[in-house]
């Protein structure tokens, strides 16, 4: 493969597209597929051939606004239809080239306003299982450029210049990480893509792997060249069967086109990728635990240092990045580090993909430039709280993050701003809660999660999460006292400070952030035996105490 051949593939894919007057893209991500969008695609294709319209019906990945699914998009007009059913095929085909079908308007309002697609640039436009469609949109240009024109050092320089930080949540500078692994001496190095998206309420990685898997493969290959690795692993959750299947097909296609394997693009660079299935353990998001899991062991973290950059998979230097981080690599190389650094805030560059869910009008996948405010996302893109209820809190960072109240809605999104507000970026789940959610119960929910997901290796996390869970349960039952609250606060400090890995260190965050902003709710449970949101059911003794009766 050389530049001419790549252009030729892109050209013929483009020619193929131009044969048709219209393109009908049908979303076949997990969400729309569960509403049988495959049948919708077949119905539209059948209808189009019956009418003799020149139209190409394409399967694509998630288009974003999942709540309006199943989604269909017509190109080149970029008309979007929502809640499409099989019976609508006739009208959709008839409307090609004319007025759009009014009743299928997805009512997206300002959903796309202010969004900026870098990671999701191809989403909804290409068939995830066809590598040539990816190439036609500039795919693998970056890899070819890297292999033929750039030294590993200059690749790392571009990544450092871009200011890209780890998108898995930690926010460690990607360029620095690559540089560290590149400098370590070792005959064998590995690249691992962390797709173990166990953070509940988040589906960015799933969507990227389902919609544009080649982008992740390209990013990994560029990383491998930069650090001198020849073997890669993608660690994906077994709960995402569609992502695994699309990724497997994509790897086969990439090998067929010669972007993986030996002597890639007629250079001396060799690289191949294997898929490893996760088996449902939150702690495997921690890099040392993930490595143990790939080695076929229990996914338990170990103390660092040594960092995986020095001693990772099978003791060799290993680079681990998140799916979204790798998905940012190809555009950075294509457009240059400065281009990427021109988006975002001073210390958080580029864009971030969020899974906007919860009690909100328009749920779905959004990609926004760093620095946008929470208000713009929730009330602009998301259309505000659903069912006319009142906004109460927004949760980011999953079980490691926190809940932010209305006062923080004008916070601009960046790694540091979210941490100072008591939450964190996390992998990108953003869950909106209204006044029907009890914040103590939410804290208890996350603590239950951390308790069951604790691997049990270190005592603070293993025992501390159980004790914190018990205390929170006591509060929600109206059986707690002020002493219990003090004990809970103390435990939060101890577990956070002394746990071995990120799971335990951040497990108190949901409690701490709700205590910080919603202490009145805790106090209402303790002093008045009352749940302001009306969620908690109190035991009989607690109710009696509220009425002033005393049991002897």
């Amino acid at each position: 493969m050389n530049v001419e051949e790549l252009q030729q593939i892109a050209g013929s894919a483009q020619e193929e597209r131009e044969k048709f007057d219209y393109e009908v893209n049908v979303c076949m991500g997990t969400s729309c597929l569960s509403q049988h969008s495959d049948k919708i695609r077949d119905a539209i294709a059948k209808e189009a051939s019956a009418c003799g319209k020149s139209c190409h019906v394409r399967r694509t990945g998630c288009m974003g606004p999942c709540a309006a699914g199943p989604m269909v998009m017509i190109e080149p007009a970029e008309t979007r239809y929502g809640h499409v059913r099989e019976e609508d095929a006739k009208d959709i085909v008839a409307a090609l080239g004319g007025e759009p079908v009014a009743r299928l308007d997805p009512q997206l309002g300002s959903y796309f306003e202010g969004q900026n697609f870098v990671v999701l640039e191809n989403v909804g436009h290409i068939d995830p299982e066809k590598i040539d469609e990816y190439i036609a949109r500039g795919g693998y240009e970056a890899l070819l450029k890297v292999l033929t024109e750039m030294s590993p050092g200059s690749v790392i320089e571009q990544i450092s210049k871009s200011g890209l930080r780890g998108r898995g949540g930690g926010g460690y500078p990607t360029g620095l990480k690559w540089d560290t692994v590149a400098k370590v001496k070792g005959a064998q190095k590995y690249v691992i893509c962390n797709g173990d998206e166990v953070d509940p309420g988040a589906f960015m990685d799933r969507s990227v792997l389902e919609s544009d898997p080649q982008r992740v493969i390209e990013g990994m290959a560029i990383a491998a060249y930069a650090i001198g690795a020849n073997k890669g692993y993608v660690y994906v959750r077994a709960e995402y069967p569609l992502a695994v299947q699309r990724l497997t097909v994509a790897l086969r296609e990439a090998r067929r086109r010669g972007f993986l394997g030996n002597a890639i693009c007629e250079t001396t660079f060799n690289f191949d990728i294997d898929v490893r299935l996760g088996a449902g353990a939150f702690v495997c998001g921690e890099e040392t635990a993930l490595i143990a899991s790939i080695e076929g062991k229990r996914g338990m973290p170990r103390p660092r240092p040594p960092y995986p950059a020095v001693s990772g998979l099978w003791g060799d230097p290993t680079l681990i990045n998140n799916v979204e981080t790798f998905a940012n690599v190809a555009p950075i190389i294509r457009h240059g580090g400065e281009w990427f650094a021109s988006m975002g805030t001073a210390r958080s560059k580029g864009t971030k993909v969020f899974a906007l869910t919860g009690k909100i009008q328009r749920t779905g996948l959004v990609e926004i430039p760093m620095g946008m405010t929470l208000r713009q996302i929730i009330f602009g893109i998301g259309g505000g709280v659903a069912d006319g209820r009142k906004f109460k809190a927004v949760q980011t960072g999953g079980p490691s993050g926190g809940c932010m109240p209305e006062e923080h809605l004008d916070l601009s999104i960046s790694y540091d701003a979210l941490i100072s507000a008591g939450s964190m970026m996390g992998s990108g789940g953003m869950i909106v809660m209204d006044d029907t959610s009890c914040m103590v119960s939410v804290a208890r929910f996350f603590m239950e999660f951390c308790m069951t997901e604790s691997c049990g290796k270190c005592v603070p996390c293993r025992a501390g999460t159980v004790q914190m869970f018990e205390l929170l349960t006591k509060i929600t039952k109206g059986e707690a006292t002020h002493r219990d609250l003090d004990r809970l606060t103390e435990l939060c400090e101890v577990v956070g400070a002394t746990s071995l890995c990120g799971l335990g260190q951040t497990a108190p965050n949901p409690v701490l952030s709700t205590l910080r902003y919603f202490k009145h709710e805790y106090l209402a449970h303790i002093e008045e035996k009352r749940c302001p949101a009306g969620v908690c059911e109190f035991s009989a003794t607690a109710a009696d105490t509220r009425r002033g009766e005393v049991h002897v």
Binding site: C66, A67, P200, F203, R206, G280, T357, F446, F449
Partner: protein
């Protein structure tokens, strides 16, 4: 002395063992193929029992304790056979906010079993899962692995009713 003298024979004539063996062969019977192989066993047989764990451990020369440790560590692996039908309720954050706890309680009441158990007649297994990634249309339930979103109590009860009266 080696842990096991040689690879054990396939436990039975069942063709599914050949699929399992195929996974191990693909990985060169390497010890780090343990999780991959257990995935194959579970997808072929629906669960992992003692003979299958013993077979995999011996074939890959992994101590039985380690294999058992891996099986019990990961939530995805099950040591109990599933019922004829499975109802898996997502308890991820988005589903929790939209009331999946109530769905679990309703299903438990309807089937008279706790989440993670199977009805005594082996008809329905009730389970929970931590996020299947369809948070945009929460709450989500998987009926026999098929995803149903924006689930409501009566809809869930109707499906369970169909299964239990079959």
């Amino acid at each position: 002395m080696p842990l096991y003298a040689e690879r054990p024979p396939l436990p039975s004539e069942d063709k599914r063992w050949r699929i399992v063996n195929g996974t191990m062969r693909k990985h060169g019977y390497s010890r780090n193929a343990l999780i991959e192989t257990l995935h194959t066993v579970q997808s072929s047989f629906g669960f992992l029992d003692e003979p299958s764990i013993r077979f995999v451990a011996q074939s890959l020369r992994v101590p039985l304790s380690q294999a058992y440790g891996v099986v019990t560590f990961y939530h995805f692996f099950s040591l109990k056979p599933p019922g004829r039908h499975t109802c898996t309720i997502c308890t991820g954050t988005a589903c929790y906010i939209k009331g999946s706890e109530k769905l679990v309680a309703e299903a438990e009441k309807f089937l008279h079993v706790r989440a993670g158990e199977t009805t005594p007649d082996g008809g329905v297994s009730l389970g929970t899962v931590r996020c299947v990634g369809d948070c945009g249309r929460a709450p989500v339930v998987l009926f026999d692995g098929e995803l149903s979103a924006q689930m409501k109590g009566p809809q869930l009860a109707a499906q369970l009713e169909r299964w239990t009266t079959q």
